[in-house]
Amino acid sequence: MRKTLLEGLTHGPLTEPAPAPDEAALKELAESVERAARARLGRSLSIRQVDAGSCNGCELEIHALANAFYDLERFGLRFVASPRHADVLMITGPVTKNMREALLRTYNATPDPKWVVAIGACAADGGIFAGSYAVEGGVKDVVPVDLHIRGCPPSPTDMLKGLLALLEQTSRKA
């Protein structure tokens, strides 16, 4: 174990430079965040992830955000276990009928101010699953959404760009 630890210390970091915040995301956010009651959060956001019906592909890439290459935590962004500790809900999947209620309750359990980020093509409008008897639709059909990060699944870099844009907006003075 010591060897592995030492190697970690002597080799250069794998973590890559931060991507620029996504322009389109900044634009989408400019509208939603302006009207939000702006509490000072500093440059730090706690994220609660909710799978509202995804195929689990989006989750794989969300997991990747924590690996050494993307290292989400260096930006002050971290995943928390409870919606009560969260500033941001990161929601994946088409919202299934079976998850609608659980999603609403999770949303209501998250204190204000809060932001909702819809991750993936499915979360945008139900994606390929739209129209099913078992699917309610996109996330915006159930709770208000501040930012969409599209892709099937979106790459970790795309998610990082979107989240950095969110960070920029939330930490900007009103």
């Binding site: 799978d51 088409p94 699944p153």
Partner: protein
């Protein structure tokens, strides 16, 4: 070769059920299509697969689950989705239908949904028992499902799962879909196994349409399947260690997984390789520099991975958590036909690549690692050994990758096909029926998780509640694959 379906009488259906109950045959799947119910079974000695169909009278068929418990949830799902009832079934509660849909039996004779009856969890008897309800929304970045624990102090007396939260109605969306769209849907049944699902769906379609896939494409399919396997195994090994609070392994395995995904992106243009396998072949060829990038990856993994295995093996605090935790008895693994590392860590040697020898695995050399301990540790070791086998397979594929076309033309016609493909977590079954226009009349997708989830309930018994996340991770069943 899998023979076409046989239509049986009630007597034939009962006989097959008996052979499942005595362990002579293993249940591979049970599904409905209109008024028909079909079962696929496997003779593990000869690797022969049989498919039987019974046409229900008055929407009823003789219960398989009454004699063979692995069929119980499948029968409950058939009742909820199609409205066909298993006569004599031991459990009449709905499955997948949690009472939120507007329609009842959405794939059968549709009816407006009724207000759902309260869902009764199975009882547990004894003194000083308490219940813990967990989910559907869990604490981590994980799919939703409900777990109902009955515990005595810290010890789990009974766990019962209630699943279906991520049911998207994929089989419903498939009906009437074009082959293209259906292949995309199949590849989104469980995102972590998108290659395996696309592979199985394509095979089923090719059997139905009697198409020969170009050899080049066949080899590329296996290449992607092995890359998907190692990416997931790295993710799992790291995540299991993380749940045993050994984060160093998690970080290191996360790096390996990311390296694989970057290579898959470079080779096939998508990190998870979604929509690359299509009926007839593959949608795009491997990038020109692909082989070189892959060889570098294999060399790199071979350099780093042994040190991580050593680290896993020599860390006593980690072993303390994984050894003897969450044991699956070999008898259960056999009875349930548990696939993947769950089965192979508990003495069941089945691997669809080996048993069915579907192309190109008939031309490739590999071992199927098997252990008997059945604990979390054994499930980790199976994954470790499989990574090594997959690396060797990737090299063999690169060495003998034949030149040629990537896709064969398809001609629309009616037909049926069944395929079984080894995903990283176990065998995926796809049964497909096409109509004359080549559209999907009915498609059934059965994830390996169907026969693994129930074993998790058994494995956790007598363990402490705090070890549940560790056991759960060592199974890593798919919620989406199961709920579909």
């Amino acid at each position: 070769m899998i023979p076409p379906r046989t239509h049986v009488t009630e007597e034939g259906w009962r006989q097959a059920t008996e052979r499942l109950a005595t362990g002579e045959l293993t249940l591979l799947g049970l599904w409905a299509d209109g008024a028909d119910v079909s079962m696929a079974h496997l003779d593990e000695k000869t690797a022969d697969i049989g498919v039987l169909t019974y046409t229900c009278e008055d929407g009823r068929y003789p219960s398989v689950g009454a004699r063979h418990p692995p069929a119980i949830r499948l029968e409950r799902a058939i009742a909820s989705l199609f409205g066909l009832r298993a006569d004599g079934a031991p459990d009449a509660r709905p499955w997948l239908d949690l009472g939120f849909w507007d329609v009842a039996q959405p794939l059968g004779k549709r009816a407006p949904a009724q207000a759902p009856a309260p869902y009764e969890f199975l009882p547990a008897g004894g003194e000083c028992l308490h219940q813990i309800a967990v989910g559907p929304v869990h604490a981590g970045i994980i799919e939703p499902g409900h777990f109902r624990f009955t515990a005595n102090g810290e010890h789990v007396v009974r766990l019962e799962q209630r699943l279906g939260y991520v049911h998207k109605g994929i089989e419903g969306l498939m009906q009437g879909a074009s082959l293209d769209r259906a292949a995309k849907l199949a590849g989104r049944t469980s995102g972590d196994s998108t290659v395996a699902y696309a592979f199985a769906f394509a095979q089923a379609a090719e059997i139905a349409l009697q198409v020969e896939v170009p050899a080049h494409a066949v080899f590329l399919r296996a290449l992607m399947a092995e890359l998907e396997r190692i990416a997931n195994h790295f993710g799992d090994i790291g995540a299991i260690c993380n749940d045993a609070t050994f984060t160093l392994m998690h970080a290191q395995c996360g790096i390996l997984r990311e390296r694989v995904l970057r290579v898959t992106h470079a080779c096939f243009g998508h990190r998870l390789m979604m929509d690359v396998i299509v009926p007839g072949g593959v949608a795009r060829d491997i990038a020109p520099e692909g082989a070189a990038v892959l060889r570098t990856l294999v060399a790199e993994v071979r350099k780093v991975f042994p040190a991580l295995i050593e680290l896993y093996d020599s860390t006593a605090s980690l072993q303390d958590r994984t050894v003897t935790t969450g044991v699956v008895k070999p008898d259960y693994a056999r009875q349930f036909g548990a696939g993947g590392y769950v089965g192979r860590a508990s003495g069941r040697a089945f691997d669809a690549r080996r048993a069915l020898r579907y192309a190109p695995y008939d031309l490739l050399k590999f071992d199927v690692p098997v252990l008997d301990a059945g604990d979390v540790n054994a499930r980790v070791w199976i994954r470790i050994r499989e990574v090594e086998q997959s690396l060797a397979l990737i090299e063999q594929i690169l060495d003998r990758l034949p030149a040629g076309e990537i896709i064969a033309p398809l001609r629309a016609k009616a037909g049926e096909g069944l395929a079984l493909v080894e995903a990283f977590r176990g065998d995926v079954l796809v049964w497909l029926r096409l109509d004359e226009s080549g559209r999907v009349a009915r498609c059934h997708l059965r994830d390996a998780s169907w026969f693994q989830w129930p074993l998790l309930e058994a494995a956790i018994e007598g363990n402490i509640v705090a070890d549940f996340p560790l056991c759960n991770k060592s199974f890593n069943c798919s919620y989406s694959g199961h709920d579909a």
